[in-house]
């Protein structure tokens, strides 16, 4: 089964309702609920930010800033739109502002400014992903896709219906003609199997498992 190119995946409605419930918890002072939202969306936000800022370290800084801004603005969030849609706008604006600020920033003076080639090389380096980051990203993509191909049919179908089609557990249960509890278990087992492969990637030298939080 080919899962690449499935960009038009529907964001699950049920997950949105779960997000709103988490937002309400944050609004009542539960910071752990915000942690969960960050853990859930940090990769998507980072990917979004990297459209504007290619340097991984700088992109992480901007993603962090976007989340903190979101936390501070959360009291005003009324749930008229999905949480991620709202977060998306904050992240885009933060990235754009950072881009404008970086263009205004003077060139670092630890370089020999007489050497024009050196200045240009530094600017290029700051604007591009590091080879290590590129390799890790590519490895993650390859590993996830290979792992999902290797799944038993029932597990693969369950997670595809969930992640790509955005169906609720109840709808998946109807589609697969099995109890909701079985759907829940299949989706978990699929994730666990893929995660096992993913952990090997991080343990294998491209990244450390403890780093990926």
């Amino acid at each position: 089964m080919h899962v690449e190119g499935a960009a038009q995946a529907i964001e699950p409605m049920r997950a949105e309702a779960g997000d709103i419930a988490l937002v309400r918890r944050v609004q009542q002072g539960d910071k752990a609920a915000f942690d969960a939202l960050v853990l859930k969306y940090q990769h998507k936000v980072l990917k979004l930010v990297q459209r504007y800022v290619r340097n991984p370290a700088e992109a992480e800084d901007i993603a962090q800033e976007a989340f903190i801004k979101a936390y501070r603005a959360l009291p005003a969030f009324r749930g008229d739109s999905a949480f991620y849609t709202w977060l998306y706008r904050i992240a885009i604006n933060t990235a754009k502002n950072a881009l404008v600020a970086s263009r205004r920033r003077p060139v670092s003076y630890d370089l020999d400014l007489q050497d024009g080639t050196q200045v240009q090389a530094h600017a290029r380096l700051a604007d591009t992903e590091t080879p290590e980051a590129l390799a890790l990203t590519e490895e993650i993509r390859r590993t996830v896709n290979e792992a999902i191909e290797a799944l038993p049919d029932d597990l693969r179908l369950a997670i595809v219906l969930r992640e790509l089609e955005g169906l609720s557990y109840e709808d998946i249960a109807r589609t697969m003609e099995c109890p909701v509890g079985t759907v829940r278990s299949r989706i978990f087992r699929a994730r666990e199997a893929i995660d096992r492969s993913l952990r090997e990637v991080f343990d294998g030298g491209l990244g450390r498992i403890g780093d990926l939080e």
């Binding site: 995946a9 049920r14 779960g18 002072g29 990769h43 962090q64 666990e192 939080e213």
Partner: protein
Amino acid sequence: MTDRIKEQLSTFLDGELPDQETALLLKRLERDDELRGALSRYSLIGAVLRSDGDVPAARQVAARVSAAIAREPFRAAAFVRLPDRDLLLRSVAGLAVAAGVAIGAVLIVPQVGPQDPAAPEALMAQAVESPIEPVSDVADVVDEPAAIYVTPPATDSTGGIAPAQLANYLVAHYGYASPLVRRSVGVGLMSAPGEPALVEVAPREGQAGK
């Protein structure tokens, strides 16, 4: 971390975990780094599956955000809906008018004091206290904006300053008063129920033009 907990985590990620279990899981997430790592990777898997391009793995974002927000104090008042800009402008305008009236009262009181020693305190208390109260409660400002406009009790014929006395004072010091004070006091005088406001007006010679 048991498979049961991880299955809960997977269900939570999909928004299918019941509220009670969610509350317990969030507590566990706070103190279990391994569980946080699993949540991050599960969401990364979903992001990679849904994306047509590469998804970068965020490494330090969650930990740094968590540390940053842990330092931020929770302020319950911050979660009250903020007043809109018009409301703020109205509040500021109301305060400015009230402050003007309070200054007017300060100017007026020493002149009328000897005739009624109790009046200045009452006048000051009303002029100074009234504008502060509504600001402490946003809802009150929304519902009752007029409460922050204070007019000196010039029309109170029983315990306050007699309108005629105030009128005398006003005419005598007209040149010193600001237009705002003149209008505030003037309105008070003219609105006295059943009492002719300017009956006893007798400007002192030589002062009216000052």
